[in-house]
């Protein structure tokens, strides 16, 4: 019974691994991923305001949030966007987070 329980727990762990993974330009780390990437750039001069918005994923079962550019810009009162970066975090594929950073004035 104990062996059956442990085997089931192990199988469940394998099942949910990588469910919360993200893709990056440098590929994904099996154990941990923490990268910052550029998303977009405009012709506007580099802004001095910064707005963020994020999405989180837990075990690939629940994904919530709002990482839209509109929300990130709205959070900082940005009306003229200069560029957009993002940060992606994943821990053994069971926890993932995507954060967008909008810069502008």
């Amino acid at each position: 019974m104990k062996k059956l329980f442990l085997a089931s727990a192990f199988a469940l762990g394998l099942l949910v691994t990588s469910c919360a993974s993200l893709t990056t330009k440098g590929g994904m780390g099996v154990l941990y991923t923490g990268v910052s990437e550029g998303e977009a750039v405009t012709a506007n001069t580099l802004g001095k305001k910064v707005g963020t918005a994020e999405i989180t994923n837990i075990l690939g079962l629940v994904t919530t949030g709002d990482a839209s550019i509109q929300t990130a810009a709205k959070n900082a009162g940005i009306t003229r966007i200069s560029h957009i970066d993002c940060k992606k975090t994943s821990v053994i594929g069971v926890y993932g987070k995507y954060t967008v950073y909008v810069y502008g004035d």
Binding site: F10, L46, K48, V50, T52, N75, A76, G77, V91, Y103
Partner: protein, 176 residues
């Protein structure tokens, strides 16, 4: 099998037990005119007995072109936030700053307000020498939304904000 499960459990706990690294909380951008430093969003706990509904999220932005540091905050209240000033209260002083409203809209059973206020870098620097966490209060009424930090969280915030101010000082020095 048992050893494998123990190892897997320890591996999963690794991210949680890493020592706090203040520099990981900062995003630094350099542009031709100067440097922008952004402190990632964090939370301040709501003070019980005030009109706020939940903890406040806030982030901090500063740049080398201005002496002011901006705090942009998300406040959840039962009614639309009716305040024109934010007060930073320590045991020894009170500092008032005018509030700039970014937006105010209904959410769930209440209202969400996104506001910004400014504090000078020198004033912030002196505030960071205080051991006790300050209270941030939006408005002057007795039940005005108020927020603070635990001693441990305040200590972490002091380290992050001190590094932010040092980045500004160093990059201001380079631009002269």
């Amino acid at each position: 099998m048992k050893k494998f499960l123990v190892l897997a459990t320890l591996l999963c706990c690794m991210p949680a037990v890493r020592a706090f690294d203040p520099s990981k909380q900062l995003v630094i951008q350099t542009f031709p005119e100067g440097t922008v430093v952004f402190v990632n969003p964090s939370e301040m706990a709501a003070v019980k007995g005030t009109s706020t509904q939940r903890d406040m999220q806030y982030d901090v932005t500063a740049n080398t072109l201005s002496d002011s540091v901006s705090f942009t905050c998300t406040v959840y209240t039962g009614q639309p936030l009716n305040a024109d000033s934010a007060y930073l209260r320590t045991p020894a002083s009170v500092h008032a700053s005018a509030i700039e409203l970014i937006y105010c809209e209904p959410k769930s059973n209440g209202w969400i307000s996104r506001v910004r206020f400014y504090i000078s870098a020198s004033r912030l620097s002196s505030l960071l020498t205080v051991q006790t966490a300050p209270h941030i209060v939006f408005g002057a009424t007795p039940d005005a939304p108020a927020f603070t930090l635990s001693d441990k969280k305040w200590d972490e915030r002091r380290r992050v904000l001190s590094i932010m101010l040092e980045v500004l000082r160093q990059n201001n020095r380079q631009n002269r």
